[in-house]
Every structure is written in C-alpha cells, then in structure tokens.
C-alpha cells in the first residue's frame, strides 16, 4: 500500500460543498496534507509558498476558470511548478471542454459526480503512469496522445520529439516535489 500520507494536495473549487466532498475523500485515502481554496488565484499564491504534489481543481470557477488556472500553472513565469499534475473535475463532458482542458495542459479529467473510486483511480494514474511533457511553439503540458498502437512502418511525424532531461530545460523550474 502506497504511503499517500506523504503526499500534499491542493484542492480548488468555488463550491464549498464540493470542496468538502473532495477533502473528505482525500482524508479517507489517508492524504492528510490537503490545502483547500475557493479560488484559483488564492491557490496559485499559496502554491508559491508551499509546494504541492497534485492539484485537483474544478473547471467552472469564477473569475479564473480551472482551464485558465491550468494554463497559468503551465506557462506563467511565476508558476510554482509547471510540471505539477492537474486533475480537473467538471460537470461538462462535451468535446469542447475536454479539448480545451487538454490544450491547457490538464493531466487527468474527471466528470462529476465525484466519487471516491474515480478520484482514487486518477491519483494512482498520476503516480503510476506519469506522462511525459511536450513543448511545442504553442503548447506546453502532458503528452496529449495516450494510446500506443503498434503499426508497421516508421515514424511518419514531420518532427520526432527530442527527449530532454528536465535539467536541460533552464526555463522550466522543476519545483513542488521536494
């Protein structure tokens, strides 16, 4: 059994009841170090002071949405950790929302209703199968291609990703997982 008590999690939701629900589930999973914020701006500020291992945030928040918050984490010069896994909770499963979340750099997507089983599965996914990060001219975030399909023939992409050690990417501070 993993020692989830050693992890720290930031939960962001502007609905107090949903915040309580996620907090309780995390406590049940033995995750004790949980910071909860009703707004993304507050969460961002808090993360600059205290590092967290995973962010769980709602998508529909005001004034800063979960998607905007993720973009900020991935691309802002002030970001406390551009690699931090983001699990986005949302009531919208439409293609547009999923696509926007993916483009913003969301790591895992969870459609409401929030369940202990669903949240636990995504936390384990983040731990056991972390996705590499890709940087292109217009995107920085977890690799959006999940499926690995065997096929005959070579790589037909115009540009094959060049793999770098995170230490080689000076612009990207690797914080938050001390």
């Amino acid at each position: 059994m993993y020692r989830l008590d050693r992890m720290s999690v930031m939960v962001v939701d502007d609905n107090r009841h949903m915040l309580n629900l996620i907090e309780e589930i995390l406590r049940g999973l033995n995750i004790r170090n949980v910071s909860s914020k009703l707004g993304a701006a507050e969460a961002f500020k808090e993360m600059q002071i205290s590092a967290v291992d995973i962010v769980i945030c709602d998508q529909m928040m005001e004034p800063l949405s979960g998607i905007e918050f993720t973009q900020l984490l991935r691309t802002s010069k002030d970001s406390p950790d551009r690699f931090v896994p983001v699990i986005m909770v949302t009531g919208n499963s439409d293609f547009g929302t999923v696509r926007a979340a993916r483009e913003a750099g969301v790591t895992e997507f969870m459609v409401k209703p929030v369940s202990a089983k669903g949240l636990y599965a995504r936390i384990l996914e983040v731990i056991n199968n972390p996705r590499p990060f890709l940087r292109t001219k217009s995107f920085f975030g977890p690799d959006r291609r999940r499926r690995v399909i065997q096929f005959d023939g070579g790589d037909k992409r115009k540009k094959t990703p060049k793999e770098k050690d995170p230490g080689d990417v000076e612009m990207i501070p690797v914080g938050g997982h001390a």
Binding site: E24, A116, F133, F139, R144, K159
Partner: protein, 171 residues
C-alpha cells in the same frame, strides 16, 4: 490548433522525475500498483458521511434557483443577470445531485444548463424553459424522487424534453 499543427514546430519531450512515486513508495521500497481496497472503502464512507450536508445544500440551492427564476420572469431589465444565476446554481446542483442519489436533479439541471448556454435562444425563451425545469427540479426534491424516479421520473423527463424540443423548433 490541432495535433497536426504542432507537427510543424520543434517538439521537445521532457520526462520530469517521478518524485511523487518516490515519496509514496519510500524510494521504491513499496511495490505494486498502490491500490488498496480498504482505503477505498474508507474514502467511500467519508464521502457518504456528507450526505446530509448535500441534502441541506440542495434544499437551499433549489430555493435560490426558484427565486432567481422568478426574478428572471419579473425583472426583464436584468433578465440576463438572473439567468446567469440560474445557470450557475443549476451547474452546482448538476454536480452533486447524483452524489445524494437524486439522479433526476443532475439530469434536469444538465438539460437546463445546456439550454441556457444556447446563444441562439432569446432570454425570454430561456426564462420559459428555465421555469419548466425549475418546477420539475422542485417537484423531484420535495417529493423525494430519488434515483431515476421510475415511471414518474420518465414522465417528467419526457415532459421536459418535449418543452425543450418545442422551443428548439423540433416539437
């Protein structure tokens, strides 16, 4: 932007060290996939413990929803603002309705949110459709129609669909 667009640019892959796994496995001393059935049961019990809190929240939110809908009907100058409140409340209820076994609240709230986000609909039509949804949600909660609601639930849902279709010009 599409995945294909990205192909025109330099792509760099970075694999950050998996520090979370190091932490939770004590540097690799704990093996396996980490799943623990007992832990999940504990988390499910904690979530179930919030049932009454969510019921109270639903009671309050449905009252607020009725109020916002009434205001949208009577205060035409600020109708858009009141409809925004209706949408926000419906979105919240949609999120937790199924958590308290009110699947119909989630379904009706979802239908309402979708309709309110239709740019081509006027606020006057949105208000009429909101009224039908809010009444149905109030009925579901006051009569404690849990789960999918059986025959009554199916009838209510059919009625909502019919009303929505009418305004969409499909009725």
């Amino acid at each position: 932007m599409t995945d294909d667009d990205d192909d025109d640019f330099e792509v760099t892959m970075v694999r950050p060290p998996n520090r979370i796994k190091d932490k939770v496995t004590l540097g690799g001393k704990i093996t396996g996939d980490g799943f623990d059935e007992e832990l999940l049961k504990e988390a499910e019990a904690k979530a179930a413990g919030l049932h009454d809190e969510f019921l109270e929240a639903a009671d309050i939110d449905i009252d607020k929803l009725k109020n916002a809908c009434r205001q949208a009907e009577t205060d035409s100058a600020r109708r858009a603002e009141h409809l925004k409140t209706v949408e926000r409340l419906a979105h919240d209820i949609k999120g937790y309705g199924s958590n308290i076994n009110y699947d119909l609240l989630t379904a009706f709230a979802d239908s309402l949110v979708v309709f309110l986000r239709m740019a081509e609909m006027t606020d006057a039509i949105k208000t009429k459709v909101a009224r039908v949804h809010v009444d149905a949600m109030g009925l579901v909660f006051s009569r404690q129609i849990t789960g999918k609601g059986g025959d009554l639930g199916a009838q209510l849902f059919a009625g909502l669909r019919q009303t929505t279709a009418k305004f969409l010009g499909r009725g």
